[in-house]
């Protein structure tokens, strides 16, 4: 944020003017489209869209907050059981997510979390693949060297983490957040199982909402609903919903790719 402000401060008057004109034009053309879309999909769909945004953002945020320290700890510190934790992480990573839905359902039931938003957020917040990605990112010689340098400079372990590790973990954080966001945004099966009760449609994410357009007798004959496609909602309405479903993924990717590809470690070595 500070860097952005700095860039603004340095921008010339011409640049500021060009940016203002371009922004104004963008708003001018975008507003009618956005208005048309949301006017068409109506209040309920907007609600689902916001639900989806909340679940996926919260899940991704929790995932990043947990994966970075976990991956860092696994990569740079030796503690009893480190190997075991690493192996379990990789094993869990290999299990297809859909195979975990039933155990997760039972777990959520035992914890009285069924039909609560936590039941769809937490399974994505705990993200073994992200831990592994972070582990790979931190498990390099140049990182080890930077940590040693910081310790020689008098840093405590906490200072090392806060001042060196966190700022440099931006690329891998962006990657974890993006992958996690897309996975939970596009997921249908897990929320479908967790929101099993029919009075929870107001908590549906968009993916479930679209399905609801196909089949108003949820659970009874989902596949049968595909045949009744025309009777539920108009195909053009469903197509619009699908388009709206895709758009945020593109936006998140556009935001994340700047950091995903960036080389934060550039300049460590010569």
């Amino acid at each position: 944020m500070r860097a952005l402000a700095e860039r603004f401060r340095r921008a010339s008057a011409t640049q500021v003017m060009a940016l203002s004109v371009l922004s104004l034009m963008a708003v001018f053309f975008a507003v009618p489209i956005v208005w048309a879309v949301f006017e068409a999909i109506g209040g309920t769909a907007l609600h689902w869209l916001l639900n989806s945004a909340f679940y996926s953002t919260a899940g991704a945020a929790i995932a990043v907050a947990l994966c970075i320290p976990a991956g860092y700890g696994l990569a740079t510190h030796d503690f009893p059981g480190r190997r075991a934790v690493l192996i379990v992480t990789i094993l869990v990573m290999l299990i297809p997510p859909n195979a975990l839905v039933l155990p997760l359902f039972l777990e959520a039931h035992a914890a009285h979390l069924l039909t609560s938003p936590l039941a769809v957020i937490l399974p994505y917040g705990l993200y073994p693949f992200g831990v592994y990605l972070a582990y790979l990112y931190f498990n390099t010689g140049r990182f080890e060297l930077l940590l040693q340098t910081a310790r020689m400079d008098g840093c405590s372990e906490w200072h090392v983490f806060k001042r060196i590790v966190l700022p440099l973990s931006l690329p891998v954080s962006a990657l974890i957040a993006f992958l996690n966001f897309v996975a939970s945004w596009t997921n249908f099966f897990l929320p479908w199982v967790m929101y099993w009760s029919f009075d929870t449609t107001s908590r549906y994410p968009l993916a479930l909402g679209i399905a609801l357009q196909l089949d108003t007798t949820k659970g009874a004959s989902f596949y049968g609903a595909l045949i009744q496609l025309h009777t539920a909602s108009s195909p053009s309405y469903i197509a619009l919903l699908l388009l709206v479903t895709c758009a945020p993924v593109l936006i998140v990717f556009a935001l994340a790719q700047r950091w995903i590809g960036s080389s934060q470690l550039q300049g460590v070595f010569r």
Binding site: D153, Q264, V268, R270
Partner: protein
């Protein structure tokens, strides 16, 4: 200001010979001691033991007569310049320089003063706002140096700080570092594999091989009276020529030629096989049929001097059938013979050194 003492310090990795074996070494207050040796000799491990980045498995390391074994790096008050500089990539030069002071909770104005002063010392004022990725190799090296000196630590450690610079810059920076160290008067342990760097920079030089200290002394003593054949061949560029010889009543016989020896040296050496050491500059070209016959292999012209790499005829190594390294002779480039020419070498007897054929230890005349 501090003294550093290694007392029989060892670093033991499982299943391999000791990386550092019973090292006894003292670095005096304000001294620049260079630790030199071939790669894998344990010099960097020694440095890292003092830094606290490697444990000390046996023995002790004292800084100012207080053991630092078990004290974490951050509390040793020792600064290190890493071979790859290891600058913090997300910080500007100014932030890199001030980081340790910030961690030590100095006031902002004090940090600023010291950063600016250090930048001025090293000629880095221009790049204070730049990130490491925007610096040249030489500037990175200076930032790495600056990060160490800004702290005013008890001891500097430098791990081959010049190895990533190009040859010309390395020579220039070499003298700058030595001058800076003398001005700051901070006890320094400097590690390098380059013996020229060691000889030109060090107040004293310690030669390490396979984790064992071979000799530690001022450069001229290392050069003139090496403790053993390894130091003799390692120090000097090119190093000392080492030949197999047999002690006889008149002197030492190398191949078919006998080289006269000073009386004291011959008497001390006794009889039997020895290793004969001759510096390249202790040999002249002779034309009277009395010298050691040889054939010129290659001539290296360096401008003010030239080195002849020659193959001696009938040397002792012929018996074993092994290839002996070429015998190196320093000559005036004007009188350098062409490759393939047969020459005769006259070895100055007073500069011949003898080493025990088995242990390599130098035979000191009584």
């Amino acid at each position: 200001m501090a003294t550093v003492t290694f007392r029989a310090a060892s670093r033991i990795y499982p299943k391999v010979p000791k990386a550092v074996n019973q090292l006894d070494l003292e670095i005096r207050d304000g001294e620049l001691l260079v630790l030199v040796g071939p790669s894998g000799c344990g010099k960097t491990t020694t440095l890292r033991m003092l830094a606290g980045l490697e444990p000390v498995d046996e023995g002790d390391i004292l800084v100012d007569d207080q053991s630092v074994v078990g004290v974490p790096s951050q509390r040793r008050d020792i600064a290190m310049v890493f071979q790859n500089y290891s600058l913090y990539p997300h910080m500007t030069v100014a932030q890199n320089l001030g980081f340790a002071l910030e961690i030590a909770k100095l006031s902002k104005s004090a940090i600023k003063d010291r950063v600016i002063e250090t930048a001025r010392t090293l000629g880095l004022e221009e790049c204070l706002d730049r990130k490491p990725a925007q610096l040249s190799g030489g500037q990175c090296q200076r930032v790495a140096m600056g990060r160490a000196i800004v702290r005013q630590p008890r001891v500097f450690l430098m791990d081959e700080p010049l190895s990533n610079l190009d040859a010309k810059l390395r020579v220039a920076t070499r003298s700058q570092i030595a001058a800076l160290q003398r001005r700051l008067d901070v006890t320094t342990l400097y590690v390098t594999h380059d013996q020229v760097e060691a000889m030109t920079m060090g107040d004293r030089v310690a030669v390490l091989k396979d984790g064992v200290l071979q000799q530690v002394d001022v450069p001229s003593v290392l050069y003139d009276t090496p403790a053993n054949a390894f130091v003799a061949s390692f120090i000097g560029s090119p190093g000392m020529n080492l030949l197999d010889g047999i002690i006889g009543p008149d002197g030492v016989t190398v191949g078919s030629t006998t080289v006269q020896l000073p009386r004291e040296l011959r008497e001390t050496a006794g009889t039997g096989r020895v290793t004969v050491g001759v510096r390249p500059e202790a040999v002249t070209l002779a034309g009277d049929g009395a010298g050691v016959p040889a054939t010129v292999n290659i001539v290296e012209e360096l401008g003010p001097e030239a080195y002849i790499y020659a193959r001696l005829e009938h040397t002792a190594a012929d018996r074993s059938g092994e290839e002996t390294p070429d015998f190196v002779v320093r000559v005036d480039p004007k009188s350098a013979p062409p490759s393939g020419r047969r020459i005769e070498l006259h070895i100055q007897q007073e500069s011949v050194q003898l080493f025990d054929a088995d242990t390599g230890a130098r035979i000191v005349p009584e």
